[in-house]
């Protein structure tokens, strides 16, 4: 029966009552005045010891008996059709036990980028697999390629795709009602085009009526995920059952693919084991072709196969954040209120078309928005979801427009300008914290006035990560007092395992050290993928609910044996206590020993829906302080302040780490990372970790993380994940800080010495006339 309760929601000193109708069986969220013993404490990760001693076994480290090694042959051509693959010579090479071709396996003979899979080999040693791979004979029909957004959009550009696929295609607003198998729906398309024209006219009019109009063209680059553990798995068939030690963000998704007919793997049964995963950042939701290839090679060879990508394969083919070209016009009135925003954006998700949107509308009140997005096909490795897909690139453009708009109306303070256009209840407070902690108002040598200049910049973020249904957690209390929490999902480094255990420990009134966990095994209860920052918000309410009911069962046993009233009993500090707080003298361990059975096991599913709550989004503000060497163009981020809301904080230490990690990847995106494609042969030239530059220790800024503990009432734990939110605003804040430091804006990421020096040089030769107000994008 649904129970109606009143809870307090809010943060800081801003709390109010909220009436919530609990879903069947759910329990009320923790309340602000409720004492908590484990939740909210800084707890080391449960797997930290295994990781610092090298005893944690990742997929790369698995070594079942008779293990052999797989290798994938990749096309060296920018765009090609595979006419024929001859494995004859390769199969005769020493040690070879299995081989396959991609055209046969995936019914795809279009190698549309350099790095596309062509064939695969498994042999006894890596050297043998390597040698055999090089003996594979392939006939290609070469085609012209486009490996950059500009090349692909140029007039007369060669066709990237196949059939009637155009290089540039509108993805939003979308033409609906297109039938399956139909490439276009002229009637529906015409309607959309008419709507777009009307919208453009309306927004043009608002812009024309605004006190000030600013415009800018922004570019962001392709960023690869570059997890340190590459994609892939160790695959083994045991009596027709497939076992995969997989480097994945979705154990159950991986299993689903292995039991599907993709590549004809069709395992009747499959168990996926992923206790440790060496990073993913959004690129490891699918088993990928390498997963299918590993399973098929292992089947043919009848021995386990390790099919992990090498670094070059990882960098070219295992996913990336698409680039973007964004043109914007913003109208703002003298009172600092935004009237309208016009956006035209293009992005390259690879040879496909979707998923390259640059997102940003929603952070501020932007007035009327006219937005059209295009996907641009290129002959490059495909995009994958990458930590807040679309948001950092959208933020880079929008937040610079915000600063430009504030500047255009008499130099309104950028923070003040944002506050006037932002009604998020939490962010309002966050701006002030960021302002103070970055030293926003301190004097600085800025604007290019000396060889070394400093500047500050600000940007905001939001996310939606309260989680949802789709997970069950098993809590097992043994007669000997051992407590185990189990879920089959993976922990990719976010701290999920630890947080799940902390929630159970809190509910059971015991210490974290008394709880053990089992994760990353599809034989355990269903769990979510590690995506959308929703893992923790999805898992913890189930963990708490399961622990709650396990506690009830244990207390019922105690009450029966002792002749006490079960409703008067609770667990706290590893003891059985009464509701008035008094000690019964019975320890948790002794209570467990009263069981007749070996153990109490409770499996509970997470309530499917979230409650209306106090805030549907988690809000954040970041501020950057940079130092720019005007003479060399070298930019260094000295300090980042990251104010973040993660709902109710379970483990502030791992939450802080998540924020620091997002900020570091954001700074790395702002200053260094970019995929460099060779126009001649269409290959990625920096498919390594030398020229694909990832921010290192010396470049790492001081990061000041401020976490806001928010009782949002969304679920019984009120947690919001923090994987994605902290990367959204970072690059934008850095870009704004650079502009503040050097007195000129760099419109393209990454902000390299080259771009800084070029921007300074352009400023010194003022030949470009500003476009007149109202010009079309």
């Amino acid at each position: 029966m649904a129970e109606e309760i009143t809870i307090q929601v809010g943060f800081g000193d801003q709390f109010h009552d909220l009436t919530v109708r609990l879903q069947d069986g759910d329990i009320p969220p923790w309340q602000p005045d409720q004492p908590l013993d484990v939740v909210g404490q800084r707890k080391p990760r449960l797997d930290a010891v295994a990781k610092v001693t090298g005893t944690a076994k990742f997929s790369q480290d698995q070594r079942p008996d008779r293990l052999i090694h797989g290798r994938i042959l990749r096309s060296p051509h920018g765009n090609a059709e595979i006419l024929a693959v001859d494995l004859t010579a390769a199969r005769k090479m020493p040690g070879v036990r299995a081989a396959l071709t991609v055209p046969d396996t995936f019914e795809d003979s279009s190698a549309r980028y350099a790095g596309a899979e062509v064939a695969a080999i498994a042999a006894d040693t890596e050297q043998q697999a390597d040698a055999a791979m090089r003996a594979i004979q392939v006939d290609y029909q070469l085609k012209e390629h486009c490996v950059t957004i500009d090349a692909s959009m140029a007039e007369g550009a060669p066709q990237v795709g196949r059939g009637d696929q155009e290089n540039v295609q509108r993805v939003s607003p979308r033409t609906r009602g297109r039938r399956r198998g139909q490439n276009s729906n002229p009637d529906a398309d015409r309607q959309v085009v008419e709507q777009m024209a009307r919208r453009e006219k309306e927004v043009d009019a608002i812009l024309a009526g605004s006190d000030s109009v600013v415009e800018g063209t922004f570019r962001t680059q392709v960023q690869t995920h570059a997890p340190l553990e590459t994609h892939g798995a160790v695959c083994s068939w045991e009596d027709g059952r497939l076992v995969c030690w997989a480097s994945t963000q979705a154990t159950f998704g991986f299993r689903g693919e292995m039991t599907s007919d993709w590549g004809q793997v069709k395992a009747g049964e499959c168990r996926v084991l992923s206790e440790y995963v060496g990073g993913g950042f959004g690129s490891k939701f699918s088993a990928g072709r390498e997963g299918v290839i590993g399973a098929l090679l292992a089947k043919e060879a009848a021995v386990p196969v390790k099919m992990m990508l090498d670094r070059a394969g990882e960098q070219t083919s295992a996913g990336n954040r698409p680039d973007s070209l964004q043109k914007m016009r913003m109208g703002v009135n003298k009172d600092g209120i935004i009237q309208a925003l016009q956006i035209r954006s293009w992005g390259t998700p690879g040879s496909g078309i979707g998923g390259a949107g640059a997102h940003n509308d929603g952070i501020y009140k932007l007035g009327e928005i006219d937005k059209v997005e295009y996907g641009v096909r290129t002959n490059c490795g495909g995009a994958k979801a990458h930590r807040a897909p679309g948001w950092p690139q959208g933020s880079v453009a929008l937040e610079q427009m915000m600063d430009m708009a504030a500047h255009s109306i008499g130099g309104l303070d950028p923070i003040e300008f944002r506050k006037r256009n932002d009604d998020h209840p939490i962010r309002g407070a966050e701006y002030d914290i960021a302002r103070q902690r970055i030293g926003w108002d301190l004097p600085r040598v800025r604007g290019g006035a000396a060889p070394i200049c400093r500047g500050v910049g600000i940007a905001s973020n939001l996310w939606f990560s309260a989680g949802g249904g789709g997970a069950s957690v098993l809590v097992r209390i043994s007669k000997d007092g051992a407590v185990e929490v189990r879920n089959g999902a993976q922990d990719i480094g976010t701290g999920t395992r630890t947080v799940m255990a902390m929630v159970a420990a809190e509910e059971l009134g015991i210490t974290l050290e008394m709880v053990s966990t089992r994760i990353g095994d599809t034989n355990d209860p269903q769990g979510p993928m590690s995506g959308g920052s929703t893992t923790i918000g999805t898992l913890t309410p189930a963990a708490r609910l399961a622990a709650h009911h396990a506690k009830k069962e244990l207390l019922a046993v105690v009450a029966e044996r002792k002749g006490w009233d079960p409703a008067d009993l609770d667990l706290r500090k590893a003891k059985v206590i009464r509701n008035d707080g008094s000690d019964t003298g019975l320890s948790f361990k002794d209570a467990c020993s009263l069981m007749d059975d070996d153990a109490i096991e409770v499996l509970k599913a997470r309530p499917r829906r979230n409650y209306a709550g106090f805030s549907d989004t988690n809000a954040g503000v970041q501020a950057a302080e940079v130092e720019v060497d005007m003479e060399t163009g070298v930019v260094r981020v000295k300090k980042m302040v990251a104010v973040a809301d993660a709902g109710k904080l379970i483990n502030p230490m791992t939450a802080e780490s998540q924020v620091r990690g997002g900020v570091i990847q954001g700074v790395s995106f702002a200053l260094h990372e970019r995929r460099i494609m060779d126009r001649h042969k269409g290959r990625m030239l920096n498919d390594d970790l030398e020229n694909y530059k990832i921010l290192g220790s010396v470049d790492c800024p001081e990061i000041d993380v401020v976490l806001i503990d928010v009782y949002n009432g969304k679920s019984n734990t009120q947690v919001m994940g923090l994987g994605e939110p902290p990367i959204v605003a970072t690059a934008a804040a850095v870009a704004n800080a650079v502009a503040d430091a050097i007195g000129v804006r760099v419109f393209e990421l990454p902000i390299t010495p080259r771009r800084v020096l070029e921007a300074i040089a352009l400023q010194e030769t003022p030949v470009v006339q500003p476009k007149k107000k109202g010009a079309r994008l």
Binding site: E126, E627, L671, I676
Partner: protein
């Protein structure tokens, strides 16, 4: 990685005799050669491991200067007292190079003989002037980090941070080979000045150093009479943890010296370290003031032929030149 045989000579004579063709590479630290073999851009059947040869691993004072054995690691060079006292710019430049791990592995001999880092050269399937074919992919391709000087034949930049500093200090490279023996049977030593040791593509695009097959670098000799009066080394690179210099300027200044006594060497902007006599003349002829800096800045870009993406290296060099002179003047050291 491909399998290969490894020879373990215990003398220079043995090692030299083994290198019967350029396809038999020497390996010392291994940091460069193994990467090339893994990329299949070098496919040797035999490599000659120099690690077991005695007498190449010490830094000694010779009376005329110091002698750094070819197998001394970069870190051991940088932390050596003799080097620190006499050749501080060398210590500075090594501190900027590569990573702590690589500095513990890479040898000074290997450092000055390493292959350029051009990303076309480092990928299989790009035939060019440097690897025995013709042309240069970078000139009309992706060249943000390539050379702006002397880049007509091949646009690689010289990869060694140390090389420009060695040229500035007037170092000599000691070379031995089994071909040339003196009457008593011992191997003769040949010395080549660093400035002549590093070859330009115009001299020979396929070679970076003046070594003939069978010749082995046995030591780097630094002359006692060096210009440590005043020195500065200014370098710019995008990332401060492990990155390659995009440009560097080394200046040695002899107080009261004549124009020939000073050294200005540019690094990472040309296929070989670039000595600039014209800039040396400017610093030798006037006070090191703002006007002097301006004169140097006006001159430094002369002769540059920037490609489509590396024109920024000219203003970058101007900036580094200014820093180098200001640092000579004892201004606060800049990052």
């Amino acid at each position: 990685m491909r399998q290969f045989k490894v020879a373990l000579p215990n003398s220079i004579e043995q090692a030299s005799a083994l290198q019967k063709s350029v396809d038999v590479p020497f390996i010392a630290g291994g940091t460069d050669l193994l990467a090339r073999i893994k990329e299949y851009i070098d496919t040797p059947d035999l490599v000659v491991d120099l690690k077991r040869i005695e007498g190449l691993g010490e830094i000694t004072s010779t009376g005329q200067g110091i002698r750094i054995g070819a197998l001394v690691t970069m870190d051991d060079v940088a932390t050596n007292r003799l080097v620190a006292e006499g050749f501080p710019a060398l210590v500075e430049t090594i501190g900027n190079a590569a990573t702590p791990q690589i500095r513990n592995m890479a040898t000074i001999g290997g450092n000055i003989c390493q292959k350029p880092r051009c990303w076309y050269l480092r990928h299989e399937g790009y035939s060019c002037a440097k690897n025995g074919g013709s042309g240069c992919w970078a000139r009309e391709g992706e060249n943000e980090f390539h050379a702006i000087f002397g880049n007509q034949v091949c646009a690689v930049t010289h990869p060694s941070n140390m090389a420009p500093v060695l040229v500035a200090y007037g170092a000599s490279i000691e070379i031995q080979s089994s071909e040339s023996k003196s009457s008593d049977g011992t191997l003769e030593k040949r010395q080549v000045e660093a400035e002549q040791f590093f070859l330009t593509p115009e001299q020979d695009p396929t070679r970076e150093v003046a070594l003939k097959p069978g010749e082995i670098v046995t030591a780097v000799l630094l002359p006692a009479k060096n210009r440590t009066d005043q020195w500065s080394y200014a370098e710019a690179r995008e990332k401060q943890s492990f990155d390659w210099a995009q440009a560097s300027v080394t200046v040695l200044y002899q107080r009261g010296g004549r124009s020939g006594d000073h050294r200005v060497i540019l690094g990472a902007v040309s296929p070989a370290p670039l000595r600039r006599a014209d800039l040396e003349e400017i610093i030798g002829s006037r006070a090191l003031d703002a006007d002097c800096i301006q004169a140097l800045q006006e001159k430094i870009g002369e002769g540059a032929h920037p490609l489509s993406q590396n024109g920024y290296k000219v203003p970058m060099l101007r900036g580094l030149m200014a820093k180098a002179i200001r640092n000579l003047n004892g201004e606060k050291k800049e990052g």
